[in-house]
Amino acid sequence: MNRDNDKGKVLIGRSLILAVGQMFLLIVIIARLYYLQVYQADKYKTLSDENRISTRLLVPPRGIIYDRNGELLATNRQNFQAMIVAEQTTNVKETLDAFKRIMPLSEIEEERIKKDLKKNRSFVPIKIKDNLTWDEVAQIQLNAPDLPGIIIDEGLSRYYPYGEKTAHVIGYVSSVSEQEAKLKEDPLLEVPGFKIGKYGIEKLYENKLRGKGGNLKLEVNAYGRVMKEIERVDGTSGDKIELSIDARLQSKAYELFGEETGAVIMIDIYSGEILVFASTPAYDPNVITQGVSAKEWAALNQNEHKPLMNKVLSGQYSPGSTFKMVVALAALESGAITSQTRSFCSGKMFLGNHAFHCWKKEGHGYLDVIQSLQHSCDIFFYETAQKVGINKIAEMARKFGLGQKINVGLDNEKEGLIPDTEWKKRRFGEPWQLGESLISGIGQGYILTTPIQLVTMTARIANGGYAVVPTFNKISEKSKLDKMNISSSNIALVKEGMFDVVNVPGGTALGSRFDFNGLKMAGKTGTTQVRRISMKERQTGIIKQEDLPWKYRNHALFVGYAPHDNPRYAVAVLVEHGRSGSAVAAPIGGQLLLEALKLDASSKPVE
């Protein structure tokens, strides 16, 4: 009985130990709850939000680009895409087969769709085809009962209404490269399918045009399905940009070139606003924006006419006779010649025993500076260059914007080259030869200029010696221009010469003259050889341009301005292998200036 008593006591004692132990363990549970739910709550709240919240960037509409008159140059077009949502159809293959009966799919497309379907969960829409036309969208909607799971999605894609006509100004947008994405300057760059400006204005004003991305916070479940929208912060669309370009003139210029290869640029001689900026042939930016295959890209790259090259900025050409104004001004300013100075042209001259030819074999006879410009006599300018020296010519050329970047903002602008004695020494380690001055006098030899430099030169002559700089910006307020230290009367002489080139019989651009209500053009032609004419060929007769292969033909140039009495526009035209400045380049420049004057007249209010 005593033992029984002990047995009961042991049970009670040990049960109490058990009870206390169990209570203690449950208090450990409470402590653990405190640790997780108070001490570590913030950490787990963050993790919980990371689980449930999926943030998506909202791509803002890209800024629209207008010309000076409000004409659309780059805009955003609705882009319809057909998508398939696998979970909304009982048989994906059947739906796709039905789709193919309406619209064929290439093998590559089918392959991609299959891969995407495998990779994604069944509620994720998979793109079947994009850039659908209205008709195609209508077709799909008409057949909707046979196409379960097919939805039409709307996006925006960049569109250039003027296509290749404005290709070299506006440029294009394209997918973000890996390198660009690595910079991480903007999260938008990591959005699949996002496109940024790769060339032209699209690149120059990328930051303005892009806008700011918005945020869409979505609640998703464990399988990634979107449950609801939590928050939407709309981004801001890109700024609109107004350019100085006149789409009507731009189109006209592109048409005037026809099949020819080259560049044309027209600017306002006071504001510097670029009205026309064209390089031919061009590419279609609408095609490039959607992505081109490596093969298509290679074809563009290897084309002899270099459609990808912006010849206005990147094409470096000998200015030829268009350089003669600069030589004349250098000589007049330095006093090497006066308006009275005459030279005798017999068709050729000798320096030592080396013959220098005028383009006119039989010679021009006695000419002063105005007449020399009018006839583009080479002998006069050989002699003038000889008198004034290369360094003064180079100094004048630089004043007029030659041999240096204009910095209009687009990529791949070239400097050109204005040689002088120092340059020769630096470059070749040899002294400058007098003969080199002579050929520089007619804009050949080492001299290289770009069309945008030539138009700058022309504008600065036309406006009487003001240092105008071309720009793509539409200028609302005229700013004061710096007057260059050049005598107005000397500039007037040169301008008179340029007027005679076009308007006086014997002038090299007489064929391109016009008289629009008394408004006339002044200009200067240039024809530059791209091959050497040997002595033998000179004796047997120079091969006709038409008989040469395209790439051996002369480059044709023309610079001009209008109206002569009260100048407003300057133009520079370069036709690669265009054979003759008079016959090919001058008519393009002339008609473009005439068109500009006509448009001015028609837009003026009736008084």
Binding site: R3, K7, L11, R14, Q37
Partner: protein, 379 residues
């Protein structure tokens, strides 16, 4: 015969009225609170629907309540009398399951009786407690303190535990071993014997490790380092901790637990329901549930102390320990303190057999309390 018994226990029998009057209504209230919380959480787990779980659970609780009340009104001596018979019956069922039970969840645990899938391992938890209580009630402390005296209860424990483990159901097997262990401790088995068993367990650990199924090994490894398999087995623990922690002090609100409702939390209606509760009602809600469970335990031990019979005391200690193990293992598991072993939270997790076995346990505990002044002889 029957009449003889009635006269024999005349002084010790209570009328129905007396029995009902001596029911612990506080205890029943705690049980009700847990059940209400369970149904509420199941309603939330179904995103605010009575189907498929909440209504079913309510129904099962109703059945469980009837079972509890019925058992509460049974004279405690009958539990002792039929303890061995019940034990061997359940053991037989366990063997039947082992031979050819219904295959579910990758483990054979049920006998399909058509209307209910019977889980004998759940019944064994009660049967073992009753059988051990009867055994130790009938033996002397001297016997208990000898090795020979505990061989029979050891066999009574190990045999069903092994059967359950081979099902394989590690969680239930461990609960059987722990419950029995607690009872061996309570009756006065010397501590050095536990020491030897513990030592043996440590030594045999490598062998036991090899006997574990791959998924069981994985669970242990994943518990030790959840990051080792963040998308697989470790996912449960990680997501459970995220749900709990993000609930904070006051919770995200009823029906507003993002981890649960967006399906990041697995098994939210069964093993991980406490996580969901902690996410939606925060630390306040979670501690409230723990406290209710502590109260149920405290009352149970209180009943044990008040009871005069050795059998009654020990049965309550065993059943209370069994209940404690459910709560402790489940909570420790979802809180990332122990590996995921698949033990439900009684009365709150969805599941029929567990409700019935737990409610039956409560019924026996109540009965012991009602009959606390009845003496039971050593028969």
């Amino acid at each position: 015969m029957y009449k003889f018994y009635e006269t024999s226990f005349k002084n010790q029998s209570l009328t129905l009225k007396e029995k009902i009057q001596s029911l612990s209504f506080a205890y029943i209230l705690f049980i009700f609170i847990l059940a209400v919380i369970g149904v509420t959480m199941l309603y939330s787990a179904a995103n605010g629907n009575w189907h498929p779980w909440a209504l079913n659970q309510l129904l099962r609780f109703g059945i469980g309540f009837i079972v509890m009340m019925t058992l509460a009104l049974v004279n405690v001596k009958y539990f002792m009398r039929y303890a061995y018979i019940f034990y061997f019956g359940v053991l037989l069922l366990l063997i039947i399951v082992e031979v050819g039970g219904h295959v579910g969840m990758g483990a054979q645990r049920w006998i399909n009786l058509g209307f209910i899938k019977l889980q004998p391992s759940e019944l064994m938890k009660i049967a073992l407690v009753m059988a051990l209580a009867r055994y130790f009630h009938s033996t002397s402390l001297q016997n208990i303190e000898t090795i020979r005296g505990i061989i029979i209860p050891l066999l009574m424990t190990l045999f069903p535990a092994l059967l359950v483990m081979t099902q394989p159901d590690l969680g239930t097997a461990l609960m059987l071993l722990f419950t029995a262990g607690a009872m061996f401790f309570a009756v006065g088995v010397q501590l050095w014997k536990f020491g030897i068993v513990l030592l043996g367990a440590v030594i045999s650990m490598p062998i036991a490790w090899n006997l574990l199924h791959d998924y069981q090994q994985n669970r242990v490894l994943t518990f030790l380092n959840p990051e080792r398999d963040p998308l697989g087995a470790g996912y449960h623990i990680i997501q459970s901790k995220i749900a709990l922690g993000s609930g904070g002090v006051f919770g995200k609100g009823f029906l507003k637990g993002t981890q649960s409702h967006l399906n990041f939390l697995p098994e939210k209606h069964t093993d991980f329901i406490f996580t969901m509760l902690s996410e939606e009602f925060g630390m306040i809600g979670a501690i409230f549930v723990v406290l209710i469970n502590i109260l149920i335990l405290a009352y149970s031990y209180g009943f044990a102390l008040r009871t005069s019979s050795y059998f009654g005391k020990l049965a309550v200690v065993g059943l209370a320990t069994n209940f404690f193990l459910y709560v402790m293992i489940n909570m420790a598991m979802v809180l990332g303190l122990i590996p995921v072993v698949g033990v439900p939270l009684p009365l709150i997790s969805y599941g029929g057999t567990v409700i019935l076995s737990v409610m039956a346990s409560f019924g026996i505990i109540l009965s012991v309390n009602i009959n606390r002044n009845i003496n039971i002889g050593k028969d």
